[in-house]
Symmetry: C3
Subunit: 144 residues, 3 copies
């Protein structure tokens, strides 16, 4: 078992279906993909191919932390704001771009002893900033 | 055609001339650099060597999205604020540091089929937070 | 001297003791670790294993820039806010998560000529968002 670094990198497109706005945990999905590659040490990078959704690592234990984080950002970047001119696609459009710019488009997590080096309470989340169900794409890269 | 991963990494300094504050698209510049390396799969990382300018991936289709994003951040972090004490270099100095801290200093984008795995509407931007023309430096890294 | 890329990646856990909230510079610590590896070109990635502390690259020359940045974020995300429901661990708990989500969990810095390609005024900081002394963990990765 175990893969030599000569077969790296591995790059894959992961499709993530989301039901609507908010934090969607993808930790298991990413961990499974990494562990299937059988690499002892390396670096896993996630890149989200959108400008109205983003990535964040946050606490995955208590749902109230997730809820407060979502509500706080919704208040900072409300849908109704006289400043906006980019409004053709609906009231959730430009706030989604702003929220994405304030959070992460790419995240890199080291792999140690064959596993992502996440802290005890850390989960990886896709943060959907638009309403409505859709499928988002993340490109995952695993390198030495 | 096609480079073996044994000649990696490639690291280069890219000088970017900007005319003033705002989002400056650098997608073509980065894509050209990556495609010249002839790598099928890998990871491209951009790092900006400044604390008053940053990097962001945002929509490159409609200029109103860019304008709203700039104006929104300018309102969140105004130049006149009684809180500031770091004012020797001018009123745009500490707001520039704050804006840089809220956005990205490094970005990593996977390479797939010899191209950056950007989504359809994604552009890479240098976000200049200070007034006036200057030349900024980005270090680009391409690895396996 | 100089290490061949075949002995990469190097991955290490760095324990960082902090006395309380604020920006704690870790540039020397990271530079020493990287330079000991003897690599000419590559990529150094830092990942913080917490959801209430983060990473930021900022000016390390003038302490007033650091102070203004801390104070500005403290005002944006105050401890007392009727929105919060996640309050069991104390008034600094959910603000710490929000501040961490607005800044970086991972940072990648290219290595060029055997050194981190930091700009003249750039320092790497662990941004502690909770009160009180504790030890935080960063996982450092050095790859080709």
């Amino acid at each position: 078992m175990g893969q030599s670094t000569s077969s790296l990198p591995s790059v894959a497109r992961l499709a993530i279906a989301v039901a609507g706005a908010g934090l969607h945990e993808i930790t298991d999905r990413v961990e499974t993909w990494v562990e299937e590659r059988g690499l002892a040490e390396g670096l896993c990078t996630l890149f989200i191919c959108h400008t109205s959704a983003s990535l964040v690592i946050q606490e995955n234990a208590d749902p109230s932390a997730k809820r407060d984080l979502e509500q706080w950002l919704n208040r900072l970047v409300p849908e109704a704001d006289a400043l906006y001119t980019h409004t053709l696609e609906g009231p959730d459009d430009i706030p989604a771009h702003i929220k994405a710019a304030l959070t992460a488009t790419s995240l890199s997590i080291p792999v140690l002893d064959g596993r992502l080096a996440l802290g005890t309470w850390q989960g990886i989340f896709l943060w959907e900033h638009r309403h409505g169900a859709r499928t988002r794409e993340i490109v995952a890269h695993l390198g030495p």
